[in-house]
């Protein structure tokens, strides 16, 4: 029975991935992408990876999906112009003329098929390496937290996590580069809908509480900085959409502080520990629990701010017509 469920889920994920890439309209692609993310999240749950499921549903399907949806506002008009009959979803016959020629496609398909067979064989025959479960279990009491995934993320392999928080900040900087750095200069004109505003106002404290719960609960169960950060980031995005762009009323230095404090505190704490003769990110066992909690909280706030800023900036790019002339 359980094999049946897993099999159906696997086939569903593959089907959704294929449909997502082959869909005729971009809207379909994006919504199938949401569905694909949720199918994967279910797969993570089936595999016992609840943290990954929350991260996938919240970050990959949720946040990226929202970004893609937002991008549709840019792309969809021309797409429906090219496509005369958007209601039925049928492809007009003249659309296929810019497809690549047949032979390279055949060769590519053949190559991919061969590659798939080899990879299936390789995965089928993978010897059992045993993983690092035993090692993590042995050192878990010394890590200061009770949940093994949090212990790996924030203590055993904190270096990777620190770099990863850096990657988010770099992604934000990179998006600034693309969109111009006149960030938050324009107020965002939001939908003036009383119901929407009330619902957003209702959801703000709920999301905040739930995020804080996930953050604190990450010590002993699934949850932690990233999951909490996405929920808090969702607050920022919702407020932004509801006509309360939090960042535009904030002084610039405060915004910069919020964006960088997670990364900065993480590193400065590491340097401080180095100054006392430990290695970088080597938390003394007696204080590791509280240190990890502080690092996680600040990191979550920073990531939440970065996610909101990524969304808001991508939005602002569209509202900025006079940039187009200045850079071409």
């Amino acid at each position: 029975m359980s094999v049946l469920i897993d099999g159906i889920l696997a086939i569903l994920a593959i089907y959704l991935a294929l449909q997502c890439l082959m869909a005729q309209r971009l809207t379909q692609t994006v919504f199938l992408f949401f569905a694909f993310g949720l199918a994967l999240a279910l797969a993570w749950i089936r595999l016992g990876a609840v943290d990954v499921a929350i991260a996938e549903a919240a970050i990959a399907a949720g946040f990226l999906g929202v970004l893609l949806l937002d991008a549709l506002r840019d792309f969809s008009p021309t797409f429906s112009q090219k496509q005369k009959n958007p209601e039925t979803g049928q492809n007009p016959p003249g659309k296929d003329d810019n497809k690549p020629p047949f032979l390279p496609r055949l060769a590519l398909g053949f190559g991919l098929g061969l590659f798939l067979l080899i990879s299936l064989e390789a995965i089928w025959k993978t010897p059992e390496g045993g993983g690092l479960t035993a090692a993590s279990e042995a050192f878990l009491p010394e890590s200061g937290v009770e949940h093994p995934v949090t212990a790996v993320l924030l203590n055993f392999r904190a270096y990777d996590t620190w770099l990863e928080i850096g990657v988010i900040l770099m992604g934000l900087l990179a998006i600034f580069v693309v969109g111009g750095i006149r960030l938050y200069s324009r107020p965002f004109t939001a939908a003036q809908d009383p119901l929407l505003r009330q619902v957003i106002l209702f959801f703000t404290p709920v999301l905040f509480l739930f995020g804080a719960f996930l953050l604190y609960f990450g010590k002993s169960g699934p949850g932690g900085a990233f999951q909490a950060a996405v929920l808090w980031g969702a607050i920022g995005i919702l407020l932004h959409l509801g006509g309360r762009p939090v960042f535009s009323v904030m002084p610039r230095w405060l915004l910069q502080l919020i964006l960088t404090m997670g990364l900065g505190f993480f590193l400065l704490l590491g340097f401080l520990l180095m100054a006392t003769g430990n290695a970088l990110f080597e938390y003394p066992p007696a204080y590791s629990g509280i240190m990890i909690l502080i690092v996680e909280t600040l990191a979550a706030v920073s990531i939440a701010a970065a996610l909101t800023a990524i969304f808001a900036n991508v939005n602002l790019m569209k509202e900025d017509p006079n940039q187009t002339e200045s850079t071409t």
Binding site: A191, D193, L196, V199, V206
Partner: protein, 102 residues
């Protein structure tokens, strides 16, 4: 099989039925308003039945409260988004009509 399990199974089956009906509605109904209708009404009802079934199955008040909140938030979010989509579509239709008329 106790009476509790029977009720759980019945609730789950009814929930699945409503989900199925809702999905069928989304696929088969002609325009966006009736599709939204199918999606939000039938699916929320289905989710409610399944939530009730699960709450009965776990039979702990705290879990029941959590499940209730799941259902409640879904209800809130889906009805709001349904309303927004419908409003957007209506505005589009009106502006489209105006363009065609003028």
């Amino acid at each position: 099989m106790t009476i509790k399990e029977v009720i759980t199974v019945i609730l789950l089956l009814v929930g699945c039925f409503f989900f199925l009906a809702g999905t069928l509605g989304v696929l088969r109904f002609p325009d966006i308003f009736s599709r939204l209708h199918a999606l939000t009404k039938a699916d929320n009802l289905g989710l409610g039945f399944i939530a009730a079934g699960m709450a009965l199955h776990i039979a702990s008040p705290l879990a029941a409260l959590k499940i209730f909140f799941i259902w409640f938030f879904t209800l809130l979010a889906s009805s709001t988004s349904c309303y927004l989509i419908a409003r957007f579509q209506k505005e589009q239709d009106q502006s489209g009509n105006r363009k065609e008329g003028g």
